[in-house]
């Protein structure tokens, strides 16, 4: 075991391989506040990559309704069962990650879902956290009863559970962009990776009898384009780009800005220790205790910042860039009421108005002596 630095848990930790960060690390921001659970991302991914036989139960991208939706069934409940309640001391995680305190039989603290757990991708869909009684309404945040849509892909972790679990190094992390891939020539179909991944995003193909996973649409990323699930999102909840290594911050990089400067986007289940690279803006209406468990101790500050977005032109500007262009935006700037996304060389990719022009009609039209039902 090597000792590696994991900035998301505020300490070093044990990992089977030494710290070896890629030259660039792909990262995503997902905003569940905006997600309507339409599954357009799921279909975009499915119809691009996993429409072959043997891949019927594979959803490299899925959207589940929290708290009762899971794919596979119960994946994060199992993770919590295995790890226990997360013990945080400020930004430092005091408990054991999935790589620490292991029995001698295992390379990772993992579990294997049952076969049928993969057969219910829409279980718990739109189910709320508690019964809603007649007359209930929720004027305050967080809501007394809630659910939210959690879009999930492979986290292309810095310290992947799948790589740690594979006994024959058949999974690798690309040095050029940090994308984690299964070597289809070396894979022997042991499913140790499926057992070791805390997010259960590695899946066995019963036709090829090898394991497959989200490839971050690397043929697109290599051309400077964002993945299918990002560019197909009709709610514009996603942004893909590159995150700077720990200790470095580029405030003009939209990913760095949201994760490191404004700290409004947080890793999911950081206590697992894999340093996942999909960052979520916690849904402001959902139960805080639940969110702290899922997104760690930064939840309350992130929600405070996010809830004030309308008074925060820069933050609002970055959010308007979500889903505004297919190309990866390495930099951004806000020019008055215009948000501008730029490529690696600073060339402009897109400009978007921070606030869409709008006109508010009066409720009562004096000329026609009629009420307007739709006033914006």
């Amino acid at each position: 075991m090597a000792e590696v630095n994991n900035w998301q848990i505020g300490r070093t930790m044990e990992y089977p391989y030494p710290e070896n960060r890629p030259r660039r690390q792909i990262a995503w921001i997902f905003d569940p506040n905006k997600c309507i659970g339409c599954q357009t991302c799921t279909i975009a991914c499915k119809s691009t990559w996993t429409w072959g036989t043997g891949q019927e139960y594979m959803l490299w991208n899925n959207v589940e309704s929290k708290p009762f939706g899971f794919f596979p069934v119960g994946w994060d409940v199992e993770l919590m069962n295995a790890m226990g309640p997360a013990k945080w001391n400020g930004g430092r995680y005091e408990g054991e990650t999935i790589f620490e305190g292991l029995p001698p039989t295992e390379r990772v603290r993992g579990w294997l879902p049952d076969e049928e757990d993969w057969a219910f991708p829409n279980i718990g869909e739109d189910e709320v956290s508690a019964p809603v009684k007649q007359g209930d309404y929720f004027p305050d945040l967080p809501h007394g009863t809630w659910f939210y849509h959690l879009a999930r892909i492979c986290n292309h972790c810095t310290y992947p559970g799948c790589i740690a679990a594979c006994p024959r190094q058949a999974i690798y992390k690309r040095p050029e962009d940090g994308i984690v891939l299964v070597d289809q020539e070396r894979c022997r179909g042991y499913q140790e990776c499926a057992q070791g991944c805390p997010y259960k995003k590695v899946m066995f193909n019963n036709n090829t009898r090898t394991t497959e996973k989200c490839i971050a649409c690397f043929p697109k990323v290599e051309q400077g384009l964002q993945p299918q699930c990002v560019t197909s999102c009709i709610g514009r909840i996603r942004l893909a780009g590159f995150i700077s290594p720990p200790g470095q911050v580029n405030p003009q990089n939209p990913i760095d800005y949201l994760v490191k400067v404004r700290k409004v986007a947080l890793p999911m289940y950081p206590q697992a220790g894999t340093e996942p690279n999909v960052y979520y803006i916690p849904p402001i209406h959902a139960g805080r205790e639940y969110l702290r468990q899922m997104f760690g101790p930064g939840v309350d500050d992130a929600i405070t910042t996010y809830a004030n977005t309308k008074n925060d032109p820069e933050l609002l500007g970055v959010f308007t860039l979500f889903g505004s262009a297919e190309r990866i935006m390495h930099r951004f700037r806000i020019d008055g009421e215009i948000a501008i996304g730029m490529d690696e060389n600073g060339a402009e990719i897109v400009r978007v108005p921070v606030r869409e022009p709008s006109w508010v009609r009066t409720y009562f039209d004096e000329v026609r002596q009629a009420y307007n039902h739709n006033i914006t």
């Binding site: 072959g52 001698p104 049952d114 289809q184 009898r209 090898t210």
Partner: protein, 313 residues
């Protein structure tokens, strides 16, 4: 390995011995139906005239032979490991005809696992032989740990050469492929409906890019299968590699809760990277077995240490 672990393994060995003794008693009845011969304390590859009964594990030539009992250990040398001894022993018989050598391996497994699917694993058995000019059966110099990787020269020490082993791996899922044609998702989930498939839309040849394992030439993904046995080489944990030359043949059947599997190979394939066995000499062989029902796969297996096999002249 720490002292603590050694203690653990020793205490396990005592437990395994007790389990093995119990299992011997339990399978005694089955022995009466599957074999008229008894047990022997030495593995001898008997000379057989003519073709070896490679495709017939029930052949009289096999069942009239005494069987060698190979006690099995849980793989607890390197993680991932098993913590339950799913199979306590193998019965091994061997025949050769001067050209080919065949092993007949028998073990108790009441549940046939021949489907590979998410969270489902298949039964399997393997024979391991050292790749060496003069393997020493009495004191095998090759590590039981699937050989050893070479250690590069460092600190004034010269490079330590690696040790290579030749592995013949029978898989229940491959046996199904050979007997019935390759499984499809319809065999696993009969009610599965698929609107459109890559091959349906693009044809077999053009759709191969949608089957990365096939495209990469992975032996597990092969569309056509003529043998249930895969030939591999290894030099230490995690180095298992499909051999370019696939000559092994055999067949496995499960009847009355016992697998009987024949694994055959040329005694000298002409390829120096494979094991060779000579009549009149002794050769070390080792075995491993996987029980799919217990989620055995890869390193999660039972293995038998080197057995000094005598090859009749």
């Amino acid at each position: 390995m720490t002292t603590e672990r050694n203690v653990d393994r020793r205490s396990f060995l005592r437990g395994a011995g007790a389990v093995a003794a119990g299992a011997v008693a339990a399978v005694g009845v089955a022995a009466l139906v599957s074999s008229r011969a008894g047990a022997t304390d030495q593995l001898i590859a008997r000379r057989h005239e003519g073709d070896l009964p490679v495709d017939d594990p029930d052949n009289e030539a096999w069942l009239s032979l005494d069987h060698f009992v190979a006690p099995l250990l849980m793989q607890q040398v390197a993680p991932p490991q098993v913590s339950e001894l799913a199979v306590p022993e193998l019965w091994v018989r061997a025949l050769h005809n001067g050209t080919d050598i065949a092993f007949h391996i028998e073990w108790g497994d009441a549940v046939v696992n021949d489907i590979e699917q998410m969270s489902r694993f298949r039964d399997a058995v393997a024979v391991q032989l050292p790749v060496a000019d003069e393997p020493d059966a009495a004191a095998p110099q090759t590590s039981i740990t699937m050989g050893l990787a070479p250690i590069p020269a460092a600190g004034g020490q010269p490079e330590t050469p690696g040790q290579v082993v030749h592995i013949l791996h029978w898989k229940a899922s491959w046996q199904w492929d050979v007997d019935h044609g390759r499984r499809t998702v319809k065999d696993i989930f009969p009610n599965m409906h698929n609107d459109v498939t890559p091959e349906g839309l693009l044809g077999e040849a053009n759709s191969v890019v949608f089957y990365p394992g096939v495209f990469a030439g992975n032996s597990l993904s092969a569309r056509e299968r003529t043998s249930p046995i895969e030939e591999l080489t290894a030099a230490g944990f995690g180095s298992l590699t499909t051999h370019e030359q696939q000559l092994a043949t055999g067949r496995g059947v499960n009847e009355r809760g016992r697998w009987r599997v024949v694994i055959a190979m040329p005694m000298d394939s002409g390829d120096r990277s494979k094991a060779r066995v000579r009549p009149g000499a002794r050769a070390p062989v080792a075995f491993a077995v996987w029980d799919g029902a217990k989620q055995n796969r890869g390193a999660r297996k039972q293995y038998a240490d080197w057995v000094p096999m005598e090859v009749e002249a």
